[in-house]
Symmetry: C2
Subunit: 114 residues, 2 copies
């Protein structure tokens, strides 16, 4: 299990961007785990990518938050062909519904980060 | 279980704000469930509150995203005394670590929302 699943991303120096991806899955999850792991590695190669975190309530919604330095780094990730292929597969197989909200972070704070 | 846990918040008309709260809990969760439910009801009374969604991977991190129309509505919620008391209890009892990232949303989109 990657760090993305086990600890919060600390507050970063603004400005940066949060991409909130919240989703409700279908019951057709064949290939999902492998794709998620692969994309989780691939995104690390995007210049300006700062980290991500992900949580899913069993039987409920999942929320993944990606952290990016600027709009350009988000665009780079959006144009990644493997990411686009996974999104298409997500719409036809893995997700009943999802939403994406892209926000420019102007302030942040943390508690208890070592 | 409230709607916040079972379906994604759809894309809204920008601008609005996302407040990403990601956390790692302790094992001292006495009173946490009641407080979370109470605050989840109380926040609905804040003018400009648009909704929230929450997910937690068992044994891992939790992510709650609050959606607000403007800075003023976030400030109203931040100044709520019951919210402040819960935050204090969170730091001393419920959370090992958490982060908050406040972002101004400029674009959003949804798939499969009815």
């Amino acid at each position: 299990m990657s760090d993305a699943f086990i600890k919060p991303i600390p507050a970063l120096d603004p400005p940066y961007y949060t991409v909130v991806f919240s989703s409700l899955q279908t019951e057709t999850l064949s290939g999902y785990g492998e794709a998620a792991r692969h994309l989780g590695e691939l995104v690390k190669e995007v210049p300006g990518f700062l980290g991500f975190e992900s949580a899913r309530t069993p039987g409920g919604i999942g929320i993944t938050v990606g952290y990016f330095r600027d709009e350009e780094s988000i665009d780079t990730w959006r144009r990644c062909l493997e990411h686009q292929a996974a999104q298409e597969r997500g719409r036809t197989e893995w997700y009943q519904a999802y939403s994406v909200h892209v926000g420019k972070v102007e302030r942040s704070y943390s508690f208890g980060q070592s």
